[in-house]
């Protein structure tokens, strides 16, 4: 199953609901294109909901890092919401869990954006 995304706006924050796999190829490209499109529209407060992402590989991890730094370099913020255990474990062993701002509750995550 490749990755699918859908976007919604809540209080000035763009929530990107992701589902499927973020892996080399289609999944990584989908994430990259989604973030680029949001930035091109000036939407720089992005919450990636990964609650339905059941698999991610090193390419997908790299794409998350790329999205994070790209948004930050443009003066925005990108945060992660609802990690599955697999994704959580991968971010832990790669020491990225503390790099990303990871939230479990959507309402609290939205409030946390400056």
């Amino acid at each position: 199953m490749s990755m699918k995304t859908s976007n919604r706006q809540v209080d000035g924050v763009t929530i990107v609901d992701c589902s499927g796999r973020i892996t080399l190829g289609e999944g990584s490209v989908t994430l990259r294109d989604t973030v680029r499109e949001l930035l091109s529209k000036g939407q720089k407060r992005i919450l990636l909901n990964l609650g339905e992402v059941n698999y991610i590989d090193s390419s997908g991890i790299g794409e998350l890092v790329s999205a994070f730094t790209t948004v930050r370099n443009q003066g925005g913020e990108l945060k992660l919401l609802k990690l599955t255990k697999k994704v959580h474990d991968l971010l832990q062993i790669t020491k990225l869990y503390t790099v990303f701002d990871v939230k479990d509750d959507e309402a609290a995550a939205i409030k946390s954006f400056n």
């Binding site: 190829g25 590989d57 090193s58 390419s59 890092v65 994070f68 062993i93 990225l96």
Partner: protein, 161 residues
């Protein structure tokens, strides 16, 4: 007692066999390698968590072979072999590239590398397998991944080059 029973179950499930594939240098190969690893590891009796780790390690090794080794060259192949014994699952992946330069693999956990967008594949492979042996040569790189039937706990590793 419970753990011992699990080990016995796995030993009985591990019948000695070898299966090998010769694959094109495509993204489809990466998916095929992952799926084959998942199926064979499950058939060998590993639990779901270990199957996921093994399949991911094989996927990362296949990505290296297709992307970095053979550079998607249609004239170059990736060989993939699974060997199950009563003690180990051994997976060998070989490309036909110029040979991986082990000295150029950065430590992805170093603070200066944390925000790099690549360079985590070998690290993940070593995290998920019990043994990882990498043999680069001028005619390609061979990587051998070993998972013991009842070896070190998940995450244990003894990597050599």
């Amino acid at each position: 007692m419970f753990r011992v029973c699990g080990v016995i179950r796995k030993i009985f499930a591990m019948t000695e066999q070898r299966v090998s594939y010769m694959l094109d240098s495509t993204l489809e190969t990466v998916d095929s390698a992952e799926q084959a690893a998942s199926r064979i590891a499950a058939e060998a009796g590993f639990d779901d968590e270990e199957v996921m780790r093994i399949a991911m390690a094989v996927r990362e090794a296949a990505v290296n072979a297709v992307l970095h080794g053979n550079a998607y060259d249609p004239g170059k192949k990736v060989s993939l072999a699974f060997e199950t014994t009563r003690y180990d699952l051994v997976i060998t992946i070989r490309d036909q590239g110029r040979g991986l330069d082990l000295d150029k693999i950065p430590d992805p956990l170093a603070p200066e590398n944390l925000l790099k967008t690549s360079g985590r594949g070998i690290f993940l492979i070593r995290s998920f397998m019990d043994e990882v042996h990498i043999h680069p040569s001028l005619t390609g790189t061979e990587i051998k991944l070993v998972k013991h039937v009842h070896g070190p706990a998940a995450g244990g590793k003894e990597a050599s080059q």
